[in-house]
């Protein structure tokens, strides 16, 4: 009898406390072909995906959750389409998981491995996905990092290439894997045939690459707390001779781990995420415009004064500049579109911490 009374008491109290719940769910109504990847919060909300329909000019949030019925279990650090799949580099859970690029359905469990700790970025070469990994607390031990090899057919981790210095962005040209090192003033060049490693010395640490039409690379040169440098900007790597041929200096290029560089459609302009001091002497986000043919930055940013700038992209259809905005890790972010001249066109609500636009068109 006592047990029953206690049970009823507990149930009653539980029902009382649960009766006030304001539950809200979001169900996507359409599929998109441009996807906004939202990182979420490392210790709180996991990542999400928003579908950006350029024809209807709408953004549908919680798209992954709507298609798959559950929320992500990781914070995606990067996402990339390879053939008919979109691969996500998940953090906390550290895993590679993938969805169908058309339906966005996930039909296999993600892959975890002790050789896949803090994955950052990925790039494919044939049947192999190369994933840069910090390997642990890279800021305390720069020797921890490596490149993980993930077989796209068997969906298994097939080993790793030790690469100290905190590899971040990756690019593959002519059978060579270029790795931007975030804790060493060099770009690593790995010959994929024998996995030998060479280095291109840089005046600052680097973070990401973009590839031009000649398969040469622009690399972001940044200053970080652990590796301060005054010579920041973008560097130009001639991949046929593996040489840093030119440095285009620009102060305060962003050191954020988001998409910080994007070409326009004809690759005549390269937009770079940076920052500048506002009237209150506070560094605030800007988008700088680099003239590829002229080899110089515009005198003033094309977009300026963006609090919470968290990544940039180019609308693949309109060529508009896209800025992702995230002021906090507990509230929805935004995607803002600007004309190539820098005029604000529209703002869309996204998930928490948007940072990449992935176009599957």
């Amino acid at each position: 009898m006592k047990t029953k009374i206690l049970l009823m008491l507990a149930l009653g109290i539980t029902l009382f406390f649960q009766s006030c719940k304001d539950d809200t769910t979001v169900t996507p109504t359409e599929k998109g072909e441009n996807y906004i990847i939202n990182y979420g919060s490392y210790s709180g909300d996991k990542g999400s995906v928003s579908a950006y329909d350029t024809e209807k000019d709408t953004v549908t949030n919680k798209f992954y959750e709507g298609v798959n019925g559950v929320a992500m279990t990781s914070n995606p650090q990067y996402a990339r389409q390879v053939n008919d799949k979109i691969y996500f580099m998940g953090n906390n859970v550290d895993q590679i998981f993938w969805v169908d690029a058309k339906t966005f359905e996930q039909t296999s469990n993600g892959v975890t491995s002790t050789d896949l700790v803090k994955p950052r970025y990925c790039v494919e070469d044939g049947n192999m996905l190369y994933v840069s990994c910090w390997g642990g607390d890279i800021w305390t031990d720069e020797s921890l990092s490596y490149i993980t090899k993930f077989n796209l057919t068997t969906k298994k981790v097939e080993g790793k290439i030790a690469l100290p210095g905190g590899p971040e962005g990756l690019a593959i040209v002519n059978g060579k894997l270029y790795a931007a090192l975030n804790y060493k003033d060099s770009v690593a060049v790995i010959n994929l045939s024998d996995e030998s490693i060479g280095y291109i010395v840089t005046p600052a640490v680097s973070s990401y690459f973009v590839k031009d039409d000649n398969d040469n690379l622009y690399v972001s040169l940044i200053s970080t707390y652990s590796d301060f440098s005054t010579k920041t900007g973008i560097g130009y790597i001639n991949t046929s001779v593996d040489k840093l041929e030119k440095i285009y200096e620009k102060e305060n290029v962003s050191s954020s781990y988001v998409n910080i560089m994007a070409f326009n459609k004809d690759k005549s302009k390269l937009y770079v995420m940076a920052s500048a001091y506002d009237a209150n002497w506070q560094l605030i986000g800007t988008v700088e415009e680099f003239d590829v043919a002229g080899g110089s930055f515009a005198a003033s940013p094309v977009v300026s004064d963006i609090l919470g700038l968290n990544g940039i992209a180019i609308d693949p259809e309109s060529d508009n500049i896209i800025c992702f905005v995230s002021e906090s890790t507990t509230a929805s972010g935004a995607m803002r579109t600007y004309s190539p001249a820098g005029k604000l066109i529209k703002e869309y609500k996204t998930g928490i911490s948007p940072f990449i636009l992935l176009s599957t068109k």
Binding site: A10, K21, V93, T107, N109, S255, G308, L309, A331
Partner: protein, 650 residues
């Protein structure tokens, strides 16, 4: 920190400690005579006296002893209705009246335990075992405690027994999930001089089982409910506290405390990581040296108090060499003097020299100075109406601290032999100086921040009855608190930076009741604590959809119920604590369900030759094995069993 700064701090500390204890040496030789048991004058009671109308509650030795093999989190959950956000034992932070953890100061003597870098205390690292009393001040307490006491304050104190001889108290407990606690207190003295040596050792493997929320098995497409076991969430805390006391006269004391604490834990991984990366380990170790000494003389018309202390805090993440250390020298003093016929005035100061050594600061070679001056006046009109006025002004290196006044009244509208009703009212300003991280972290620290500031309005009433062996207390309070310039870290576009981002309005009702019925050979005790708290973000510089909506991790309803039946040497206990649903972000999703946990226990006292006293306790926590969450994505333990044995040698 440079050797020069360290030396300066040590020299100042030694000088003021010797000054405060100088009178001890003078009378030391001739004092080992009397053995009169006296109740010690406590510093905290003085704080209450000069704050008429403030809501101040005490948890006493018996209440603390019930859970003194666990952290202070368990104590608060058991006997108060204060929301606490926690994981499965290694991290626990308080949300007093809708405020953040760094809006509550946790004090031992003149030491604020809150981290100077983070601004808050991890309640899981504060051992209840070392203390015999907890004073809870609800609402703004900056006028007494200085910076950080916007939502409230916790003041822990230990008591000397003034034994004449030796007394030993020890406790051993074992519990589910490989939990072990060993503690001992050795009291020795001659009623004039007293020494207490305390130590404890706590270990918990913390490998409890839990149920995941529904998880999709993408290989099969099915939703499954997985039963899992928490990995790599062990806790190992240990500490030693040595106290000395010397009593010159009945109300003239000197006390000294040194407390060494080492708290290590593995950082609990979220549920998905625990399932898919069970090998993942991270750890955090916090080491502290805390020294506090004071001299007080309350036996004369001019009452005096002088204290001095030293604190070294060291936080080590994952065995790295990046230092996160701060050192503090603290001194404080005050005097009280009666004025007019029914008035009492009090003036005092607090002075701190702080030397940080944090890998991300550029000010590690610079000493920081914080000085507070405060004055209080208490007047009693018509022998009943008490009115207090307090004011405090702080001075901080390169920072402007607001002037902080407080006004309070209390009046017994009914005073009978067996019952009384006292009405109270209080209005108090409060503030928080930004943490060192907020100001000096590179990049993003912002030296141009404004202090957070708040104002708290409070009214309440207390009804007390003692009649026919029935004692009843009912305390009802309503509060309204406005906090401006709440500091958050936000993304500037270049890096994350500290800014004064939001204003918050918090209001609510708190009810505390207890009734004790004494029977012939037994007694029954019931208690109910309930808090209704609306805490809303009224303005924000961030684009937030959560304006005028309940704050994250602040439940509307928090309740604790406890009951106790004691007969002969047996005790039977039942308590319930619950919270309503909580937001976890600024969006209308990922909401934590409310829950109520039922805990039961029984104990049996027995003695051997009236000198050796034992108490055997058996507890069951979360009797109904409820799967619940206190932080989004983090598992909490279900049913747990505990058995403890206490021994007291008189």
């Amino acid at each position: 920190m440079t050797g020069k700064n360290r030396l300066l701090i040590v020299v100042i500390f030694i000088f003021l400690t010797l000054t405060s204890v100088g009178q001890v040496a003078f009378a030391f030789n001739s004092s080992f005579k009397d053995s009169i048991k006296l109740k010690e004058v406590k510093v905290v009671s003085c704080a209450k006296r000069f704050q008429a109308g403030a809501k101040i509650l005490y948890l006493d030795h018996d209440q603390i002893a019930k859970v003194n093999d666990r952290s202070i989190e368990k104590l608060l959950k058991h006997f108060t209705a204060i929301p606490i956000k926690s994981n499965a034992g290694s991290l626990s932070t308080i949300r007093f009246r809708g405020t953040s953890p760094n809006h509550t100061s946790v004090n031992v003597g003149g030491i604020n335990l809150n981290s100077l870098t983070l601004g808050s205390s991890n309640l899981a690292n504060i051992p209840t075992y070392f203390f015999e009393e907890l004073m809870l001040q609800y609402g703004s307490a900056s006028v007494v405690n200085g910076s950080g006491s916007i939502g409230g304050s916790l003041n822990l104190s230990s008591q000397l027994k003034w034994v004449d001889g030796v007394s030993v108290n020890s406790k051993i407990s074992i519990s589910s999930f490989d939990e072990q606690f060993y503690g001992a207190k050795v009291y020795a003295g001659n009623a004039k001089f007293d020494s207490v040596t305390k130590f404890y050792y706590f270990y918990k493997r913390n490998n409890f089982t839990f149920l995941h929320p529904p998880v999709k098995d993408f290989d099969t497409g099915e939703m499954v409910r997985i039963k899992d076991r928490q990995q790599n969430a062990a806790i190992n805390n240990k500490g030693v506290m040595q106290e000395f006391g010397y009593r010159f006269h009945n109300q003239r004391f000197w006390r000294f405390m040194i407390w060494l604490e080492d708290d290590w834990h593995q950082i609990q991984q979220n549920m998905a990581t625990n399932l898919k990366q069970p090998w993942k380990k991270e750890e955090l170790e916090d080491k502290h040296i805390r020294i506090w000494s004071y001299y007080t003389n309350k036996g004369k018309k001019l009452k005096r108090y002088l204290g001095a202390g030293y604190v070294f805090d060291n936080s080590i993440y994952n065995n790295t060499n990046d230092p996160i250390q701060t050192q503090r020298f603290i001194t404080e003093g005050n005097i009280e003097y009666p004025v007019y016929k029914n008035g009492m005035i009090k003036c005092g100061y607090k002075f701190e020299v702080i030397s940080p050594n944090v890998y991300a600061y550029e000010i590690n070679d610079v000493l920081q100075y914080q000085t507070d001056l405060h004055a209080s006046y208490l007047h009693t009109f018509f022998s009943k109406l008490k009115v207090s006025f307090n004011m405090r002004k702080g001075f901080v290196t390169d920072f402007t601290v607001p002037f902080t006044p407080a006004l309070g009244v209390s009046y017994p509208v009914m005073l009978r032999e067996s019952s009384r009703i006292v009405l109270t009212g209080n209005v108090a300003k409060s503030y928080r100086v930004p943490t060192f991280n907020d100001r000096y972290w590179v990049p993003g620290g912002n030296p141009d921040l404004n202090p957070e500031n708040g104002i708290n309005y409070e009214i309440g009433g207390k009804y007390s009855l003692y009649k026919n062996r029935v004692s009843l207390n009912v305390l009802l309070n309503a509060f309204y608190m406005a906090i401006e310039d709440w500091i958050l870290w936000k993304n500037s576009g270049a890096y994350w930076t500290a800014e004064n981002v939001q204003n918050v309005i918090s209001m609510g009702i708190e009810l505390q009741t207890n009734i004790k019925i004494e029977l012939r050979r037994s007694y029954i005790l019931f208690g109910l604590n309930y808090t209704l708290n609306s805490a809303e973000r009224s303005e924000s510089k961030n684009a937030s959809s959560a304006i005028n909506r309940q704050l994250e991790y602040v439940p509307f309803h928090t309740v604790t119920l406890y009951s106790q039946y004691n007969v002969n040497n047996w005790g039977f206990y039942l308590d319930v604590n619950g919270v309503s649903w909580q937001y976890t972000n600024e969006e209308p999703y990922n909401i934590l369900d409310g829950y109520a946990l039922v805990n039961i226990s029984t104990d049996r006292k027995f003695s051997f030759k009236k000198k050796h006293n034992f108490k055997l306790v058996f507890d069951v926590d979360n009797v109904f094995n409820i799967n619940y969450y206190s932080s989004w994505n983090y598992a909490m333990p279900r049913i747990a069993f505990r058995c403890s044995l206490s021994y007291l040698l008189n």
